[in-house]
């Protein structure tokens, strides 16, 4: 009996005693009229993946900033971080999705706020006391929570979905009201969303869920708890039910495939059988995007899978050893199901067999920060969670300070200050941004806000760049995320696809080194291949390719000062590229990778700021990058 009362207190999250009334003020704003342009004229930057104090682990890690602080920060305001540091972005973002974990939404905060005398579960009591001891204890408690989660041993009081439903509803309703108050169409879009933290053991199958609609529709549902699930089917059912009930729209974005031990992009269905057309269609319809880069590593490509790609392996070190919760090592045969380029290839193979491509997705970057602060700039990076907000030790701490690296698997310096989502939309509004995501007209960046255009057609010529090539791109071709129009007898051109590729540097970041097109295809024998083409780079006159490789752009980074200069590279790179190896019988995809010149990592900025002496193995400079969604080709 006693236990039931305890659970009730915990799960309700708050009695009047604890959190008082919360922000349930209603929307008072007037809806601004937003005009949509005929085609996307500008790119909008945002973060589709951010956690606040309402996330069970974020609060445990010491996050005390609610969704309101997250929204104020993303829209350009200064806020004070959980560890007391003033924080402000160099430029506002255009949109934000607060994606707190549905599982145990608000639970840690509820545990923290509960009267101690009412907690009888010894494990919960231990965590309660640890959290109240301060940051170190809090990190320890959270590490133990994640451990318990990995082994299915969370105390029922914290994790029972049925009993947690009420607390979830309360926290969700409050969060919706706050998000709605900060949605300013035309200026700043605040989406409703949550994270579906699906896991098998410690294998990461997480998805972020984003709604297109307003509070009238979204408030008709609560976020879905995945704790007893192994595969995403129940999430897709939930999404279907939402759409049927409200007439609204919702999408899901898988993330950290790099920590899934091969389960994110499998060649088979969950039962080990071949993927059917129906399964493929269902996956592609619900999951139009994948998060390709974030703080917990980069999932584009792995050197094991792409030995001929000299730039594969950005942000893979440390993250490629074990699964998310460090419960299983990652074996080489797992890599293929864990990285995006390979998934795009697998998609072609499955489409060859079934007629449907389950992995026809676009790509974005996002932070997955658990600080409520969407930072992806190396010189202004607030880390994965409050335990690694700026401080002199974070470069050499383990990923969860105080917990040995053998337990958490990674050193914190292996975190990337990455990434952001770029969306080519017709206005800054929920509807326009969401629709652009559905048609994959998006790209991901590891932080710099570089502008990238990519159009595919059959008759683009170098001369097109002299006139209004964006208009031409839309009229005679398809933008990133699209499928080349079928090539018929009357199609102009020489029979090979041609692409307009254009990249412009971030006005306040480094110059560009090169633009590459990554091609994947399936040959007649049914085997998948890939090739990276350098299509345009800076100082092409001097940097002549040698043995198929373009000489390195150079390096102006002074790691002792954490500086670089834009005396190398180019501010913009553009070309029209035609595939010299095109075979009309082969199914293929093409995507663009833009590389920046070398610049300092956040660790280098820390080293200079805090006068640190660091192990030479620690990465102090890097080439940041942007990845576009692919353009696909289907044989007629």
């Amino acid at each position: 009996m006693r236990k039931a009362v305890v659970a009730a207190i915990l799960l309700l999250g708050s009695t009047a005693l604890v959190s008082g009334c919360h922000k349930l003020t209603k929307m008072v704003g007037t809806q601004t009229e937003v005009k949509d342009t005929a085609y996307p004229e500008r790119v909008y930057w945002g973060d589709t993946h951010l956690h606040t104090a309402n996330s069970v682990d974020a609060f445990g890690f010491g996050n005390r900033l609610d969704p309101e602080a997250a929204l104020r920060f993303a829209s350009g305001e200064e806020v004070t971080s959980s560890t007391g540091i003033k924080a402000k972005l160099s430029r506002p973002l255009d949109f934000l999705v607060v994606t707190d974990h549905a599982e145990g939404l608000g639970a840690t905060k509820a545990l923290y706020d509960a009267p101690r005398i009412l907690i009888s579960d010894p494990t919960l009591l231990r965590w309660y006391d640890l959290m109240h001891e301060g940051t170190k204890g809090s990190l320890q408690a959270t590490a133990e929570m994640l451990d318990a989660r990995a082994h299915g041993k969370l105390p029922a009081g914290l994790n029972d979905p049925a009993k947690g439903a009420e607390r979830t509803h309360k926290v969700w309703s409050e969060s919706l009201a706050t998000v709605d108050n900060y949605n300013q169409p035309g200026k700043f879009t605040a989406f409703f969303g949550f994270e579906y933290t699906l896991m098998q053991g410690g294998n990461n199958l997480h998805r972020n869920v984003i709604f297109r609609d307003g509070i009238d529709k979204v408030s008709q549902v609560d976020p879905l708890d995945p704790s007893s699930e192994l595969w995403p089917d129940k999430l897709w059912d939930y999404m279907d039910a939402y759409q049927a009930k409200t007439g609204g729209k919702v999408l899901a974005i898988p993330h950290n495939s790099n920590l899934s031990n091969g389960l994110m992009f499998m060649l088979t269905d969950p039962n080990g059988g071949p993927i059917t057309a129906e399964y493929a269609r269902r996956r592609a319809a619900h999951e139009p995007l994948v998060e390709i880069t974030q703080i917990k590593g980069d999932s584009e490509a792995h050197p094991f899978l792409s030995p001929n790609d000299e730039f594969a392996g950005y942000g893979t070190a440390g993250w490629d050893m074990n699964n998310l919760l460090n419960t299983q090592p990652t074996k080489p045969e797992d890599y293929a199901g864990s990285y995006v380029r390979e998934a795009l290839k697998r998609g072609l193979l499955i489409e060859q067999r079934t007629g449907v491509n389950p992995y026809k997705f676009g790509v974005i970057g996002s932070t997955d920060a658990h600080t409520s602060l969407a930072t992806a700039d190396d010189n202004n990076f607030f880390g994965k969670h409050p335990g690694v907000e700026p401080n002199p030790n974070r470069a050499t701490d383990s990923f969860v300070p105080g917990v040995p690296v053998e337990r958490v698997g990674r050193m914190n310096w292996q975190s990337l200050a990455s990434g952001y989502a770029a969306v080519w939309a017709t206005s800054n509004s929920r509807a326009a941004l969401f629709d652009a995501m559905m048609r994959h007209e998006v790209y991901g960046s590891t932080g710099p806000r570089m502008t990238v255009r990519f159009f595919g057609g059959w008759d683009f010529k170098g001369d097109d760049l002299k006139a209004d090539w964006v208009k031409a791109g839309y009229q005679r071709g398809v933008p990133m995320g699209g499928t080349l129009k079928p090539h018929g007898p009357s199609t102009p051109g020489n029979g090979a696809p041609s692409f307009i590729v254009s990249a412009l540097k971030d006005p306040i970041d480094g110059n560009l080194d090169r633009v590459q097109v990554v091609k994947g295809w399936v040959d007649q024998a049914g085997a998948a291949h890939e090739k990276v083409f350098n299509v345009v780079w800076s100082a092409m006159d001097q940097r002549k390719p040698v043995g198929g490789k373009v000489p390195a752009v150079g390096d102006t980074v002074d790691v002792t000062k954490a500086t670089y200069t834009n005396t190398i590279g180019a501010p913009e790179l553009a070309t029209v590229w035609s595939d010299p190896e095109f075979n009309p019988g082969q199914r293929a995809f093409y995507y663009v990778r833009v590389l920046m010149i070398p610049t300092p990592t956040w660790v280098d900025y820390d080293m200079v700021k805090y006068h640190l002496t660091l192990d030479p193995a620690i990465t102090l400079k890097q080439q940041e990058r942007g990845y576009t969604s692919a353009i696909w080709y289907n044989p007629v």
Partner: protein, 275 residues
Amino acid sequence: MELKASTRALLKEPLVHFLIAGAAVFWLLSGRAPDLGERRIVVDKAVVGAMVERFYGSFHRLPSPDETDGMIRDYVADQVYYREALRLGLDQGDEVVVRRMRRKLESLAVADAETAEPGDTQLQAMIDRDPARYSDDPRTNFEQVYLGADTPDSRAAANAQLTDLRSGKPINAQPAPLPAKLDSAGASDISGLFGDEFTLALRDQPTGQWQGPIASGLGLHLVRVSARAAPSKPSLATVRQRVTNDWRAAAIAKAQAEAYQQMLGGYDVAIELPK
């Protein structure tokens, strides 16, 4: 009944508000605050009612008589332990208890601000204090031609290109994914595309004629400004949500700070650092 002016003033004090609220809440939890040495535990209707309400809140049914008895037994045991622990001074020097108490008072201090609805006068006053924050950006209509990286060569060529543009001849612009023409662009939009340096330089260009080159974070540009619109005066109707958000954030911060300062004022704090 008339309240004395001093009592009325006292009732307006936020500190008094949350001390009253705190006492009320404490009473809700435990019947009433026990005096040290108090040896009588009363389980009355109010206490049982609160238990039943909490039970109903989570199970959507009333507790059975056995369950109610169990809750009462538990409540009595809680009270016995709690009072014994207080008598023994176990709350003293316990960091967990200290933090919990602090957090309770902190959340009580901001409870009013979180739910208060500001009046139009208050919101208008906020706008008047910082109209620039709430007004639209100044708007500019302009065309731009991108000349590529800012190098001695491109600077040298820029003047001839400017002359060509002024005489209506086409020039070789660099193909960048930048709009050639921007209508009614706000300063923050322009900065997002070109950087702050360009936005500032653009502000000083005369209208009607091609000008430049001016530099951005991307390189060099020639520009022609056709029109400028001063920022519109912000009206409460159009910025109500934003100013309400700001008002609430400020009110919460202020309530928290004031409550602490008032309490702090009642203490002498001596800090003796080790040498």
